[in-house]
Amino acid sequence: MKLENFNKVLKQARLDANMTQKELAEGVCTQAQISKLERGDEFPSSITLYLISKKLGVDAEYFFRQIESDRVEYIDDVKNIVRKYKRDKNYQKINNLVRSQLNTPLAKENKDFYQFLLWHLGICAFYLEDDKHKALKFLTRSLSMRDRVLDKEREVAILNSIAIILNEKENYQFSLKVFDRALEKVKKLPIIKDFTIEIRLLFGASKSALNLWKINQALDYSQKGINICKQYETFYLLGELYYQKARCLKRINDEESAVFFRKSIQTFLLEDKKEYAEVVEKAYVKYINKLKKGRKEGLK
């Protein structure tokens, strides 16, 4: 445990207790020593810490809990900012933030945080430098830390990133294998804290399967994803999954495809994702025109 924040916690506790340094020092130590402790020039002995905590009306554990919670909050803040940038696909900002954290004592000491940073460094290497090998190197390195990290969902999320990169490099076969492996791991998790991970995997798996012309399999993944969205009453990737289902049905000449194109467009419009709605609309119009043309030719 790093104690560099002890001084801040002590000062805050003294101010919360409405005491001056002189008042706190009475019967404990000298005022000069309190001043040194608050500046971070010295750490207290266990006896001094006991006396200070007694004077402030807290137990000695209080200081350690505060120090730890500050660090946890800081890590959570960094993770939340990275997640926000990831949703906006702002990889440059993720890269800047992750690199600024990577060599801090906090990252070196906290395996979970370090794994999180490596994972995102991998994603950034792929999108900013278009370097698949570098990206996979970071991702496999972060994956190799899985036994030292409590968060087992992270392992699945990293596998998802690996599969996405393979998909984007058109290595669909391998990508689908990784998606399948990640989906198996999700099933084995005792509790799923973040239900979106399974939806992300199913959407990605459906895309890779469709590129391999494994249409029934792709259809199955997209339907499972839609079912989860309904189960959790969420719009998360629902528009994408409807579109995916429409694409699968289109390939097997099932005219129900049009229904899912429309559902996808409606979902994106409700979410205010106009760009995505336009992509689907374009595909839908092309499909409808093809159908009309086919019917005319059939009548002739």
């Binding site: 058109e170 992300r200 959407f203 990605g204 895309k207 994408e240 694409r247 390939r251 595909a283 092309k286």
Partner: protein, 48 residues
């Protein structure tokens, strides 16, 4: 000794270039295959 090193360097450079060429060939072949497989609709991005 220097001559031997130079010769080894040349061979290494040749092998690396040949390797890259073969890899590029594979990539372009895969790209063409996938273009045939993929129909005209655009894909939507995955989520990490």
């Amino acid at each position: 000794m220097i001559k031997k090193l130079l010769a080894m360097g040349t061979i290494m450079a040749f092998l690396m270039t040949a390797g890259q060429f073969i890899q590029m060939n594979d990539v372009s072949k895969g790209f063409i295959d996938n273009n045939i497989l993929n129909e005209d609709e655009e894909e939507l991005p995955n989520q990490h």
